[in-house]
Symmetry: C2
Subunit: 194 residues, 2 copies
DNA sequence: CAGGATACGGAGACTGTCTCCGTTTAGCAA
DNA sequence: TTGCTAAACGGAGACAGTCTCCGTATCCTG
């Protein structure tokens, strides 16, 4: 890639990240091009679709996912807390931009989506959590990481669209956690808390 | 309202219902006007915003909600089954049109939304379910119908965006039900099933 | 049936998407 | 350094959707 091309590409991504954060994922792409000081043709050559551009923006985001999973797994102790910690991290990660939760969650089930590979990072990170819980025999057996991602993605979606804050999301995530763990464990855990 | 005005209004709603079902809530309004055989000015006079039009379309839908709640409540027996029956009905109701779940769920938390009043019907119907469960002391105490609507709305949203079928949605709803009911009851219920 | 209130319709202003192609530039080879 | 070519640029403009404005047509009441 020619030096000027790379320069423009990087600048577009940088500006788009900023604009998308402010205005959401449906902001005008011609505006992004203008703010980046390039013609719209240049933007569309580098990123034929909006999704391609979003994909590029997410690159840095991907790195944080595994890190967040590590952090959640380091959290020794009650499985319910582990699950809640991961859920909170998960919601935070996919809610960095408005419209993110819906976009990411739907892309996870659509292999033809340009951001599908990026989303796989989330699935595999969730897999690590699932494996841990599985080893401890505290997770409902008919549930996999796909279910987990859908459930948490759903909560994140409504939180995103309804502007719910962390405090409002917390009880929803607790319901998920309690529903996902095997009943006996939940019972014991909740008794223990009291 | 003049006779011709009413005729046009009704026709627009009828056509819009059809078009939205086929193409989703972001279909072109000028197309709707054209198919209804009226000018776009006429459409926009009757329905200044897209939301106003959707509101009108939903009128018939509202009637079904209470009916569905009645049906679910008639369902004597295990609270878990009652909850699951209502969830399934709920998802069906808000998923009649593509984009419906997200739109409805976000409107529920936004009093300024033109469809907010319509959404209240769903909330109050859910209230009836909650009251019943509350009377039986099987529902987590810190959970209200708002939480219920958000959780089920979230599942419906991801199902809508990911084209999940009923079978894929079922386990997600089960997780919600198990997370919402008090642990002791879940444990008893699940043991009883085995 | 006359007149005014009411409603119609579609041209067109405006915004956003995306393409096409004439012009410019980077980078290499001589 | 210079000349050449492939690579990249940029923005005009075609296209599609939203929404408004206002001249025209229709209803309906007295």
């Amino acid at each position: 890639m020619r030096a000027d091309a790379k320069r423009n590409r990087d600048r577009i991504v940088e500006v788009a990240r900023e604009v998308f954060r402010e205005q959401g994922y449906d902001a005008s792409l011609d505006l992004v091009a203008k703010k980046a000081g390039v013609g719209s043709g240049t933007l569309y050559r580098h990123f034929p679709t909006r999704e391609n551009l979003i994909d590029a923006i997410m690159q840095s985001w991907v790195d944080r996912v595994d890190e967040a999973a590590d952090k959640a797994l380091a959290h020794e102790g009650d499985p319910r807390d582990l699950l809640l910690a991961w859920f909170a991290a998960y919601v935070g990660l996919i809610s960095l931009h408005r419209g993110g939760p819906a976009k990411i969650t739907s892309a996870m089930g659509d292999e033809s989506s340009p951001i599908w590979h990026k989303c796989q990072v989330l699935t595999t990170a969730t897999d690590r959590i699932v494996e841990r819980l599985r080893a401890e025999h505290v997770l409902r057996e008919d549930i996999g990481s796909v279910h987990l991602c859908r459930l948490v993605g759903g909560v994140a979606s409504v939180a995103d669209q309804g502007n719910l804050d962390e405090a409002a999301v917390r009880p929803l995530l607790e319901v998920l956690a309690d529903g996902l763990l095997v009943p006996a464990h939940v019972a014991a855990s909740r008794v223990a808390v009291k």
